[in-house]
């Protein structure tokens, strides 16, 4: 039913390289996103996971060029390869160029957006605003377009004539998603799209997002701390910890063969329903402060498997082979336990990954 694995076809849509975002605070510079590199492939659902404060939202708002003081992007590049257009360097885009990219090529569903509709405007009017501001279609075509968009997310055309307070939280969230896809963007970035919704509504939202990708072929970046949502929705998951990506791999590799000790503990801390009832272990200690990242691996103080070099040498995000079923997929991990030597050179040879597999408990 799902399109696992279909993800890697179609090439790269968005390429983030060495992105660094800092917040100036009275107590110094907080490097919330530190030298992050990430690709989003066409028609792929990329999940970005991590605890609160790890830099997920800072990363996605930088992609949207929504970083506001005291935050600023201090290094890196974000290149977008829109369909039928020339590549755009988003960090360099200004004024009209930026406006033409937003919504038309990259749309955003911000956190808590179901509460961000204008309460005194009908839903349809808010669609018109967004569409005319970024595109400029005629009013007659607009009504059809809005009805079509609402239908895509499973809402009736009558919703356009309603006010936000007449809609439930889940309906508002779907209306926002419909608005995000109004101009058929290449990429939709959704920040915590299911948080604060009831479980059955969450399920409908997950279903809606997946349907949209399947029908429209857009790429989707879903940011959430909820690992179960990633398990249900994502093709690939990038896990962030303390401003860095620590592991970036196909969803089944992340859940069944996590490499990074942090990811392993994170996956191990998810309560599961059914089967045996076991005591789970959380992760001891607290995440470090962005004002003073520790030297070396930022997880080393909480890591049970830390090596001597972990406290001095920052591990780089390198490719390793992660076994998924009978196939070896590319997976990136930043951990001294999984050095770059483990790079899979022969895709058919599962034993390539064997040296690092002993780390899996």
């Amino acid at each position: 039913m799902t399109s696992l694995g279909a993800a890697t076809t179609g090439g790269t849509l968005l390429s983030v390289r060495h992105l660094t975002v800092e917040y100036a605070t009275v107590r110094g510079n907080a490097r919330a996103v530190d030298d992050v590199s990430l690709d989003v492939n066409r028609a792929e659902i990329l999940g970005i996971a991590g605890e609160s404060g790890c830099g997920k939202t800072t990363l996605t708002s930088a992609i949207l060029r929504l970083t506001r003081p005291p935050g600023r992007v201090t290094a890196g590049s974000i290149r977008l390869f829109p369909k039928g257009g020339a590549p755009v360097e988003l960090l360099g885009a200004k004024g009209e160029e930026l406006r033409s990219v937003r919504w038309r090529h990259v749309a955003y569903v911000p956190q808590g957006s179901m509460n961000s509709l204008n309460p005194v405007m009908r839903v349809g009017e808010q669609f018109e605003d967004a569409i005319t501001h970024h595109d400029g279609q005629t009013a007659r075509k607009l009504d059809e377009r809005i009805a079509y968009l609402l239908d895509l997310v499973g809402l009736g055309a009558h919703v356009a004539r309603m006010y936000p307070h007449e809609l439930s939280g889940g309906m508002r969230q779907r209306a926002i998603i419909a608005m995000a896809i109004a101009l058929d963007p290449d990429l939709v970035i959704a920040d915590e799209p299911t948080t604060a919704l009831d479980v059955n509504v969450q399920r409908v939202i997950i279903q809606t997002l997946r349907d949209l990708r399947d029908r429209l072929g857009m790429s989707l970046v879903v940011v959430t701390h909820d690992m179960a949502v990633h398990a249900q929705l994502a093709d690939r998951v990038a896990v962030m910890y303390a401003g860095k990506i620590v592991e970036d791999a196909e969803v089944r590799a992340i859940f069944h063969h996590p490499r990074h000790p942090y990811v392993r503990r994170l996956i191990g801390a998810i309560p599961r329903v059914g089967g045996g009832r076991f005591r789970l272990d959380g992760i001891d200690g607290a995440a470090p402060s962005p004002l003073a990242w520790p030297a070396g691996c930022r997880f080393h103080a909480r890591c049970a498997d830390a090596l001597p070099e972990c406290s001095t040498v920052m591990p780089l995000l390198v490719a390793t082979g992660a076994p998924v079923g009978q196939q070896l997929t590319r997976s990136m991990v930043a951990c001294h336990l999984h050095p770059a030597e483990a790079i899979a050179t022969d895709v058919s040879g599962l034993e390539v990954a064997a040296p690092s597999q002993k780390e899996d408990r």
């Binding site: 605890e51 499973g154 309906m171 859940f255 069944h256 503990r265 801390a269 076991f278 001891d284 408990r361």
Partner: protein
């Protein structure tokens, strides 16, 4: 799977028995109904019935965990506030050892305060930002005269912080903004540990915590029961947390308890169509177990006047709805089937469930749904014996 779940080594029923010397105490809600009225509810027809004829009981001996699950707006927090003495119910009683907590003498009130402690959802809102976070601990010692001098008090505080795996140096003397959400929530748990209450009412204590910290918190709550004999009412919207914690489970929807029973009974064999809907919506954290069927949308637009309440409030969303569901309030029927028994971590679900409680089948698996009325001929579901509350 690479995680290594370890069986709980210390949690044996015998541990709980050692607290047999503690007097049995009871915190009960008896047919409590509460409606909020006012201009804010004008669009709902003037009132919002948050809690509708809810009864539940929490006993301290043997210590137990009762979990209350429900969606937002189901009335969970209103229940917590009423049990904590923060909101007087319009109808019905909340009793502590048989006495109405809203009519206690000052002495009785003090003893109730000491015995029933709350842990709340928002670890950011609970602390006064002008005071150091440890003030909630010093104040408790002060209020209940728990130490003769400052050095004694500090020793007691450090002991309690250790019990919730906090290092005193990390939290003492700090202001709330200097602590993480997990640290703040654990300070509230340390406060509970300090006071050794018979009951903890924890209202969504983990919903704002990260997954890794969440499990820590739940483990401490579980350990409080086995090590100190504290009973907990654990309120959550998250069914996976409910399953993890185990114990008795109450499912609340639109102000009513629609299903109750052992966690395994309710979650493995959900009887009420609402519970079935909740469980069908629960995302599996295994990417190989994705939903393959589609959920039909049963959402209602909001801002409709409060419906006629003399009916099943799930009727409009129910796939099995019958005529009578629209005209009668479904009573509670027992659900047939082998009870799963104890749901403590590390125990295999074989022990039979305890016999029914005097307050009306609160221990057994029961459901407020006409489908389980033995007189219902068209019932597509197994027919069960009645036990009307």
């Amino acid at each position: 799977m690479t995680s290594t779940p370890t069986r709980a080594s210390t949690a044996s029923p015998a541990d709980a028995e050692t607290h047999g010397t503690r007097p049995a105490r009871h915190l009960r809600m008896e047919s409590v109904t509460h409606a909020f009225r006012g201009a804010a509810y004008r669009h709902l027809g003037g009132e919002l019935v948050a809690v509708d004829d809810v009864s539940m009981s929490l006993a301290s001996n043997p210590p137990q965990i009762v979990t209350l699950v429900g969606e937002s707006g189901s009335g969970k927090s209103t229940v917590a506030r009423m049990l904590l003495g923060l909101l007087k119910p319009a109808q019905g009683r909340v009793t502590f050892d048989g006495d109405d907590i809203y009519q206690l003498s000052s002495q009785g009130r003090s003893s109730y305060r000491r015995a029933v402690q709350g842990v709340f959802q928002d670890p950011y809102g609970i602390f006064n930002p002008f005071f150091r976070a440890d003030r909630v601990l010093w104040k408790a010692i002060d209020r209940f005269g728990m130490a003769r001098n400052r050095a004694d008090a500090l020793a007691v505080i450090e002991q309690s912080l250790a019990a919730v795996q906090l290092r005193p140096a990390d939290v003492l003397g700090r202001y709330p903004h200097q602590l993480s959400g997990g640290q703040r929530q654990r300070i509230m748990l340390a406060r509970a540990h300090l006071l050794q209450p018979a009951f903890i009412v924890a209202d969504e204590p983990v919903s704002m915590l990260d997954a890794a910290v969440r499990v820590h918190f739940l483990n401490i709550l579980l350990d409080f029961r086995t090590q100190y004999g504290m009973s907990t009412l654990f309120i959550t919207h998250d069914l996976s947390n409910a399953f993890y914690v185990g114990g008795q489970l109450l499912v609340m929807s639109r102000g009513r308890i629609v299903e109750r029973g052992g966690t395994d009974d309710v979650m493995m064999r959900p009887a009420h169509p609402y519970t079935q809907l909740l469980l069908a919506s629960l995302p599996s954290s295994d990417p190989d177990v994705r939903w393959t069927d589609r959920m039909t949308d049963t959402e209602q637009t909001t801002a409709k006047p409060s419906p006629e309440r003399t009916r099943c409030l799930f009727a409009e969303r129910c796939p099995h709805v019958m005529d009578r569901c629209w005209h009668e309030v479904p009573p509670t029927y027992a659900v047939q089937g082998e009870p799963s028994g104890d749901t403590e971590i590390g125990t295999s679900p074989v022990r039979p469930a305890p016999s029914a409680d005097v307050t009306g089948g609160e221990q057994g698996h029961a459901v407020a749904c006409f489908l389980y009325d033995p007189a219902e001929r068209n019932s597509p579901l197994p027919v069960a014996r009645t036990s009307k509350t």
